[in-house]
């Protein structure tokens, strides 16, 4: 009988890991400086195994300090946004929900813009730190205003998120209209999503947040299934709904905050990846969460690779690529209602 078992989760995860590795390897190989595929793989493997040699110094530098960290960061962010999107869709019982629905992204953007205007973006992690703080403050504000009698109601929370988000968007518009030309370029690139600042340090900073939130959400995967059929239903099956909701909202928000703070606002990933995975593998969170993470990682690395190679040497914001592919796909989703009955 076709149900989600540990065996199935492991098999699917291994297959998707292989896909991810393949995508990473292609990503480090292509670019404006040509490196032969076999050589780029050798360089990467040797460096991971701690060996020396292989390739020229330039090739090593390009692959190890530019392309590989960039792929890793795109992968982390893709995984974070996809899982966060899947969780928000379940918690808000809204198939249109995405990681930015509660305004976390606008908070991060305000933080980032303030940092750019103050000239902090030249520091190695001034920008991510400022936008992370902005996102965290927004999460706190949304949860403070979005509760009724100490309880979380999805609709009240959603409303608080949307309103705080709009307020922050107004701030963003204001900052944009008063900023100078050179800052404007940085701001707009950040708003569209940009991985060109990637380095190992940012990866080290966000990795623990993403890993912990992911592990926590995964440990609640079975309960998250029950919440899809409604609060009363989940409660009568023994789930502490209040507790589950609060902690899952916070973890998913943290995932979003950590992701957007390092690369700006990348749209569509958090919306379409969980939907596509559901289409193929079903709605069970025990399979959905790890698969969304791996597919999201592969998708964003692939998109970022396209973003920097399509019009090389000009680099497109990665948000342009995800939306170009995401937009048509989403219309297709809307047209074939089979995926989501309630749309």
């Amino acid at each position: 009988m076709k149900i989600v078992t540990l065996k199935r989760v492991i098999i699917v995860s291994i297959l998707l890991c292989l896909l991810l590795i393949l995508v990473i390897l292609s990503s480090v190989t292509v670019g404006s400086v040509k490196v032969r595929p076999s050589r780029s793989i050798t360089i990467l493997l040797q460096s991971i195994l701690g060996l020396k040699g292989g390739g020229t110094e330039t090739e090593q530098a390009i692959i190890l300090s530019l392309r590989f960290p960039r792929a890793l960061l795109a992968g982390l962010v893709g995984a974070g946004l996809s899982v966060s999107g899947a969780i928000f869709q379940a918690l808000l019982k809204n198939p249109l929900a995405d990681p930015y629905i509660l305004g976390v992204s606008s908070g991060a953007a305000v933080g980032a813009i303030v940092a750019i205007l103050m000239g902090l973006s030249t520091l190695s992690f001034g920008l991510p730190l400022a936008s992370f703080m902005g996102a965290l403050l927004t999460i706190l504000a949304v949860f403070y205003f979005g509760r009724q009698e100490g309880k979380i109601h999805p609709n009240t929370l959603l409303l608080a998120g949307v309103i705080i988000g709009s307020f922050l968007s107004a701030l963003i518009m204001f900052f944009i209209s008063v900023s100078q030309k050179e800052e404007l370029h940085t701001i707009i690139f950040w708003l569209m999503g940009d991985f060109s600042f990637s380095n190992y340090q940012t990866i080290r900073i966000i990795f623990p947040y993403i890993l912990l939130s992911f592990l926590f959400l995964y440990s609640r995967a079975r309960q998250l299934n029950l919440i899809l059929s409604g609060e009363e239903d989940a409660l009568q099956l023994g789930v502490n709904v209040e507790n589950l909701r609060l902690i899952s909202y916070l973890s998913a928000s943290l995932l979003t905050a950590a992701s957007v703070s390092v690369c700006g606002l990348i749209g569509f990933v958090g919306l379409i990846v969980p939907h596509s995975v559901r289409l193929i593998l079903g709605p069970d969170h025990r399979l959905l969460i790890p698969s969304s993470a791996l597919v999201g990682a592969s998708f964003l690395i692939a998109s970022d690779t396209l973003a920097r190679t399509l019009l090389a040497p000009i680099e497109l914001p990665v948000g342009v690529i995800t939306a170009t592919f995401g937009g048509p796909f989403f219309i297709y989703l809307l047209k074939t209602r089979k995926v989501v009955k309630t749309l």
Binding site: K93, P95, N225, L228, G230, L235, G238, D284
Partner: protein, 260 residues
């Protein structure tokens, strides 16, 4: 088995339930009847502690319900709601398996034993043939059976039903009620069912509880509760009560204006 001791409940200012007391014995089939807004659904919700009464107490096998943990209640009491909407289409088997969740604790995946119990529940409710179909492809009657199967997978002692026959045609109504009756008689499950259909309640239930504006108007066997006087008093409309020609239980007929 269940002792309800003078409970009162209100959402806001007004009392929705007032001073309700009754007992349900093991294996009893109890019907809750009463007009819209008389408190039937609220009473059911209190019985599985979705809501907690401001006054009074409920004892489950002499243990106060409010001192039982969520999962402990879920192992004893299963609920079949009027209509359950799922955001994404799970398969029948997946939904029935969620009935095992009170027994899983921190386990992430169901064990072999849980699969067996879920399969048995699907055999009882005759839904095994479409175990792998997504729930949204099923008819109303089949969906009801899926949620009964999930309730059975909880291995409960009590099943609470809220308007189980609403929206079903007579064939599916009788199929469903016969299934409930079998579970009641053969498995000794206690059933508490809220229903608008007094003829069904009269035919299937051992005892009836007639509610009026949050208070018990009458409690007893169907012959004592479903009388012309009681029904006209509580519902405020004229009815004709006679006996079911086959079973001999009280039967209600509605009267058109001018017909007497």
């Amino acid at each position: 088995m269940i002792e309800v001791q003078s409970i009162s409940f209100r959402y806001h200012e007004e009392w929705v339930l007032q001073d309700i007391s009754f007992q349900a014995g093991k294996g009893e089939f109890i019907g809750l009847i009463g007009p819209n807004g008389s408190g039937k659904t609220t009473l059911l919700k209190i019985l599985y502690r979705l809501l907690s009464p401001q006054q009074g107490e409920i004892l489950f096998e002499h243990v106060p319900l409010k001192r039982m943990g969520r999962t402990d209640i879920a192992k004893k009491v299963a609920v079949v709601a009027q209509e359950t909407h799922l955001l994404f289409p799970f398969s029948v088997m997946e939904i029935v398996l969620t009935g095992r969740s009170p027994y899983l604790g921190h386990l992430m995946f169901e064990r072999e034993k849980d699969l067996e119990i879920a399969k048995k529940a699907m055999e009882w409710t005759e839904i095994l043939p479409f175990a792998e179909r997504p729930i949204d492809e099923l008819s109303g009657g089949e969906r009801k059976r899926v949620f009964i199967a999930r309730a059975l997978a909880q291995e409960p002692e009590v099943i609470l039903l809220d308007e189980p026959t609403a929206n079903l045609d007579i064939h599916h109504q009788i199929d469903f009620l016969n299934l409930i009756l079998t579970l009641n008689r053969e498995k000794g499950l206690t059933i508490i069912m809220a229903s608008h259909d007094m003829n069904i309640a009269s035919e299937f239930c051992d005892r009836l509880l007639l509610l009026q504006k949050g208070k018990i108007y009458k409690i007893g066997i169907p012959e004592e509760v479903i009388t012309q006087k009681n029904i006209e008093q509580v519902y405020g409309c004229e009815v004709w009560v006679d006996q079911h020609p086959v079973s001999g239980m009280p039967r209600i007929s509605l009267l058109k204006k001018g017909v007497q």
